[in-house]
């Protein structure tokens, strides 16, 4: 491999390189600095690194043709719209996680070098996952992400609950990823390649043609186990509430945003070649031939969101509640895969971006509440709204956004997602007046989605209600201006993004004026 070639390739993963360097820098800084200073320095370094990585994305090779993304490192590394969006999500998640962690009471006793390194490492591996086009890299990235997260979950190592959370997370995760690995081995056997795009297209072809169907489905099932664990999809979600509750709150926020998004990145990495494959278009109506896929994801979506929402109804612990809420959101997102079309993928990406903002916002307020009240039980938050109206306003905004109500971006997200489901239904009717079975299926999915979002309102509002409708006179609550700024930084976009135009431009590959301007500024 020539040097120039190597450099060209390295440019593609510039942001990952920046992160790797940051990890080293953080570790060195932590080694050199005393405890008190190292905290701030590591955080700042980490945030800067993540910001730099975010900016470095602008240097990523531009996507000229979404249908044929550019490959690097002999086809192992892929750089396309999908990976770009996911990387933005990951880096944003990392930035806010680090900022939150520094303010969290649960992590104040510990050094931050390892923490920053692990967060950045997790993000780094997640971004490799989003770009992986080879099962080797895919597996490594997947596992590295998991391993970092296991340690992060146990980072509050002197407490009991984080230990328990880490144990459950680790055992469940290791078993799930082993199962996935076994499934990957079958996929390799079926398609004789480790290259993901070729492999998945070939697999889909086999599914469509009906050759080796059982193994095809079994391998998919096994792979889905591992990914399902990451995105907390029913029935692989069991770890989720316990881990969110036990882990330090910023880590839970990280898991709910970055780790879940990484799971979806993995899923979409596998699914995207199939969705956009020109080979499959040759078969008559491939969508119909992949019935099992639609059915599987549709059912999974329905069950997952319903389970998450129903189980959340009676939660009294804020972190557990958010855990179930994140399960439910995984369900909504899976609707996009039930549709299995490119507009649905775009909707999923938009949804994920917005979900990142709103979930981080909600977690941020919870982090502060936990810090001030010393408990994550919702009851202990009573009356907090009047102590800090701004924070409450942001929390409320995030909660209604999570519910999917206008005038917040959460509505735009659900709007786009349900739109893609309904579009699939209407297209299945083929311009006729009869509602075919397929169409009815999609309509039912959409209905399940909206009804679920109505149900979810109940527990989100339970959260808000406690804070605003009840009084607790001796509650002390103080947050600094900076902390309020974080909240605003997450809350305001939620209002602004109701106009989802820029978001849609971002995900659908039409570069909006902001990005080129940013690019020229940087270059």
């Amino acid at each position: 491999m020539m040097l120039a070639d190597l450099l060209h390739n390295c440019a593609a993963c510039l942001s990952e390189g920046v992160l790797a360097l940051t990890i080293i820098a953080v570790l060195i800084a932590d080694m050199l600095l005393p405890f008190n200073t190292s905290r701030g320095v590591c955080t700042v370094l980490g945030v800067f690194g993540a910001c730099a990585a975010l900016l470095a994305l602008a240097y990523a090779p531009p996507v000229t043709d979404p249908a044929a993304p550019e490959m690097f490192f002999s086809g192992v590394f892929i750089s396309d719209r999908l990976s770009l969006i996911f990387k933005i999500i990951f880096y944003l998640g990392a930035i806010f996680t680090l900022l939150f962690s520094e303010r969290s009471s649960e992590l104040s006793r510990y050094r931050f070098g390892e923490y920053s390194a692990l967060v950045l490492g997790a993000v780094l591996s997640a971004s490799f996952l989003a770009s992986a086009n080879n099962f080797v890299l895919f597996l490594l990235a997947f596992e590295t992400l998991s391993l970092c997260c296991y340690v992060l979950a146990a980072y509050d190592k002197h407490a009991r609950l984080p230990g328990e959370a880490a144990l459950k997370y680790l055992l469940y995760g290791a078993v799930a990823s082993s199962i996935m690995l076994f499934g990957l081995s079958y996929i390799y056997g079926l398609t004789q390649t480790l290259s993901i795009d070729r492999s998945m297209v070939s697999l889909a072809e086999q599914a469509v043609l009906g050759t080796g169907t059982l193994v095809v489905y079994l391998s998919m099932l096994l792979v889905l186990t591992g990914i399902g664990f990451k995105i907390a999809m029913f029935p692989f979600h069991f770890w989720c509430p316990d881990v969110y509750q036990g882990a330090p709150t910023p880590v839970a926020a990280f898991l709910s945003v970055v780790s879940k998004a990484a799971g979806f990145a993995a899923l979409l990495r596998l699914a995207a070649p199939v969705i956009s494959a020109p080979q499959l278009a040759a078969y008559t109506s491939p969508v119909d031939r992949l019935q099992a896929m639609h059915l599987l994801f549709g059912l999974a979506a329905c069950i997952t969101m319903t389970y998450g929402n129903l189980a959340a109804l009676r939660q009294t612990n804020a972190k557990r509640l958010l855990a179930y809420s994140s399960i439910a959101h995984a369900g909504y997102l899976l609707l996009g895969l039930a549709v299995f079309r490119s507009d649905a993928v775009e909707a999923m990406l938009a949804y994920l971006i917005i979900y990142t903002l709103m979930n981080l916002g909600a977690f941020w307020v919870v982090i502060l509440l936990v810090r001030e009240t010393g408990s994550s039980e919702i009851d202990s938050f009573a009356g907090a709204a009047f102590k800090s109206p701004l924070l409450f306003a942001v929390l409320f905004l995030c909660l209604i956004s999570l519910t999917g109500l206008p005038p917040t971006a959460g509505f735009a997200a659900k709007f786009l997602l349900f739109k893609s489901v309904i579009a699939a239904g209407i297209d299945a009717m083929g311009g006729g007046a009869r509602i075919s079975l397929n169409a009815a299926y999609y309509f039912a999915l959409a209905l399940a989605g909206v009804l679920n979002s109505a149900v979810s309102l109940f527990y989100y509002m339970k959260f808000a209600r406690k804070m605003v409708f009840e009084k607790q006179p001796n509650l002390q609550f103080a947050c600094t201006r900076l902390e309020a700024m974080y909240a605003l930084a997450l809350g305001l976009p939620l209002l602004l993004l109701l106009d989802f135009d820029p978001l849609l431009d971002l995900v659908s590959g039409v570069l909006n004026p902001v990005l080129p301007t940013m690019l020229t500024l940087l270059k």
Binding site: K168, Y172, T225, F236, R314, V455
Partner: protein
């Protein structure tokens, strides 16, 4: 000339309205809370009404004014209009209403003096009068209905004037609700008319009846509906129950209600709408009237409260009027309405004077010998009583005789002998109970010494109206000719058609008549057609029949009235010895059951209570409970279903039937949420096991089922 009448009519109506508005807003700033304002306004209206009446008297046409103005565009084509109709009937009614109302206003100045809500009382009176004037001036059913309801509202306000008393408040509600029951029928009648004819104006409805647009069972239904409304207002059996209770209001109000406004409205409506009633309806009207007359008279026999007796007598007299209208005695019925207004107002105001004198004591068993203390009142009262029982020469005699003659004639022609029988029996009963009342009140020895000592004759504000009314009771029979002129033909059928012809002077209808020459009475029932044949056959003998009926009725009714008087004299007139010729107590002992039933007014109130009011209340509290309870039971059911996974069909049924009740779903989903949470045991190995089971399950499905 006509324009002037239109203007006059408007002024007659608007004067009380304006006075009402002024009084409602600032009666406490006016001298005497506006009593004299109200009275003088009514006086003016009276004068103007008399002017209209005189104009009508000399008018060649029946209809003087019939103008419409758009009020509300109901649909694209149909516009609900308001309008004024002045015909001879209206003219009479205007005079009656304004006269009685004026006298009542005058009377109240003294009677209500010192009342806590004196100004408000006058507001009520003015509203009452204004609504009644609006009612008689309306040229369409919608306006009639509007004022009809306003009459109801005013009666509610006035009957409940002393609302601190529970019985007064109850009576007010009873009056409103009972009449509203009738109003529903009326509304349905109106709806039928509107839907069938596209208009609510009387003239167009009558034209539609005439041209056969509104016909058959719909016409019957409309007629019955409208008459049902009249039954409510005019207190016809079985909707009469409110009227005696309405005595809880101030006595002048009773006078107003009984003489000129509320109850008259029903009879007026029946008279006004007569053309749309077909013969079955008319027969029903006649029977209702006849039965009510008899029925109420029997109750009146045993009442002790001076006003209650008068109340039942009103019901009975209204029965007469309805009976008359039912047999086609248009002129007789409305004539009786007028004369009755005079003498019944006189009686009530007289009773008011007595009550005033006796310091609001109403029980006749506490009265006695009052003529010595208040001779003028007694004289007036006697005159009115004589008028009521139909003593020859008095106004009531003429009108009642006209009714009885019509009924007799009807019956001679067509059977239905119950009707004249009821009429004549009631004559005797009326005479009996009225003189019973008179004797108990004014003659004999005072039974309550204390009250008697303090009794005194009444001041001029009260006496004046009494005198005027007494004079009218005596002379009111002179109007009879005028009513006869108003409808010269006496045969029921002819009369109806004649009225329709007179009423429909719009070009449209005339044109229609010329064009189609609709077969006469094409919508008549076979019975009516038969009658018609009989009538034409006996055309020459018809006059003879009438003459015979008239004579018979006159003689018979006079005899019966005298008999009734004599009976009352026997039983209630205390001679010097303080004894009566025939102790009424003996009669009671003789048939105690009948007495008890009469005393309890045939237990109708109790019956209604058990039949309607209690079930209604129970139903409503049940619905209220249902509304809260069903949700809870649903919730339980849902929870149960969620818990044991009850039969899917049942669950589906519940889902379909009640599933969208959020709370039910919420509790159910919460219960399901609990089930979901039960999986979350906290044991990592169980989590792994669940996952393994899921994977195995899916792969087994894959292998063995797909």
């Amino acid at each position: 000339m006509l324009n002037e009448i239109e203007l006059l009519a408007q002024i007659i109506f608007l004067l009380p309205v304006a006075a009402f508005t002024v009084l409602a807003l600032c009666h406490h700033r006016l001298p005497g809370h506006g009593d004299l304002t109200a009275t003088s306004v009514l006086g003016t209206s009276l004068v103007l009404s008399v002017a209209v009446f005189l104009a009508a008297l000399h008018a060649p046409d029946n209809i003087l004014v019939n103008i419409s103005f758009p009020w509300l565009a109901a649909g694209e084509a149909s516009i609900l209009s308001g309008g004024i109709l002045v015909d001879k009937l209206t003219a009479v009614m205007l005079v009656v209403v304004t006269l009685v109302s004026f006298l009542v206003h005058l009377f109240s100045v003294k009677y209500m003096e010192g009342d806590a809500r004196y100004g408000r009382y006058y507001c009520g009176l003015l509203l009452f009068t204004a609504s009644m004037l609006g009612l008689v001036l309306a040229n369409n059913m919608l306006y009639l209905f509007i004022f009809w309801e306003l009459v109801g509202l005013s009666s509610y306000v006035l009957i409940g004037h002393w609302f601190e008393k529970k019985c007064a408040a109850d009576a007010a509600i009873k009056a409103f609700i009972t009449t509203r029951i009738g109003d529903i029928g009326m509304l349905i009648g109106i709806l039928i008319c509107y839907v069938e004819t596209g208009s609510l104006e009387f003239s167009e409805i009558f034209a539609a009846v005439h041209t056969g647009v509104l016909t058959g069972s719909l016409r019957t239904l409309a007629g019955l509906g409208i008459f049902f409304g009249a039954m409510g207002k005019s207190a016809q059996f079985p909707l009469h129950v409110w009227l005696p209770d309405a005595m809880e209001g101030p006595t002048p109000v009773s006078a107003l209600i009984h003489a000129a406004t509320m109850v008259a409205a029903g009879v007026y409506l029946t008279g006004r709408m007569l053309p749309i009633f077909d013969s079955p309806t008319l027969l029903a009207i006649a029977y209702v009237g006849g039965f009510t007359a008899l029925f109420a008279a029997t109750i009146a026999l045993v009442q002790d409260d001076i006003k209650k007796v008068l109340a039942y007598s009103t019901v009975s007299q209204l029965g007469y009027m309805t009976l008359a209208l039912g047999v086609g005695g248009y002129a007789a019925g409305l004539f009786h309405l007028t004369t009755h207004a005079f003498f019944k107002a006189g009686l009530f105001l007289g009773a008011g004077a007595v009550i005033y004198a006796m310091h609001h004591e109403q029980s006749m068993s506490k009265y006695g010998g009052l003529w010595r203390k208040m001779p003028k009142t007694t004289a007036c009262y006697l005159l009115s009583t004589l008028a009521l029982i139909g003593f020859p020469g008095f106004s009531g005699f003429w009108s009642k005789d006209a009714i009885l003659a019509d009924v007799l004639e009807f019956s001679l022609e067509r059977g239905h002998y119950f009707l004249p029988l009821a009429g004549f029996v009631t004559v005797m009963l009326t005479a009996f109970y009225m003189f019973r009342q008179f004797f108990l009140t004014f003659t004999g020895e005072p039974r309550s010494k204390h009250a008697y000592e303090q009794a005194h004759d009444v001041p001029w504000q009260m006496l004046g109206p009494l005198v005027i009314l007494a004079i009218l009771s005596l002379t009111g029979g002179g109007f009879g000719h005028w009513f006869e002129e108003m409808n010269p033909k006496r045969n029921a059928l002819e009369q109806i058609q004649d009225f329709a012809r007179a009423g429909v002077q719009t070009p449209l209808v005339q044109e229609a008549r010329f064009k189609s020459a609709a077969p006469r009475a094409k919508d008549l029932t076979p019975a009516a057609r038969k009658t018609e044949r009989v009538l034409t056959k006996h055309a020459e003998s018809s006059g003879e029949l009438r003459h015979f009926a008239h004579q018979t009725a006159m003689i018979l009714s006079t005899a019966l009235a005298l008999a009734g008087m004599a009976l009352a004299w026997l039983m209630y007139f205390q001679r010097k010895t303080g004894k009566v010729a025939f102790e009424p107590g003996r009669l009671v002992e003789w048939c105690p059951n009948i007495h008890r039933v009469l005393l309890h007014k045939y237990y109708l109130d109790e019956l209604y209570r058990t039949l309607f009011i209690l079930p209604l209340r129970r139903l409503s509290s049940f619905s209220a409970l249902f509304d809260r309870g069903v949700i809870d039971s649903l919730v339980n059911a849902f929870g149960y279903a969620g818990r044991i996974g009850a039969l899917a069909a049942e669950a589906l049924d519940r889902l379909v039937v009640d599933g969208l009740l959020v709370l039910g779903l919420a509790r159910a989903s919460s219960a399901c949420g609990e089930r979901c949470r039960a999986l979350q045991t906290g044991y990592i190995r169980q989590y792994l096991l669940f996952t393994l089971v899921a994977v195995v399950f899916l792969s087994v499905v894959l292998v063995y089922l797909l």
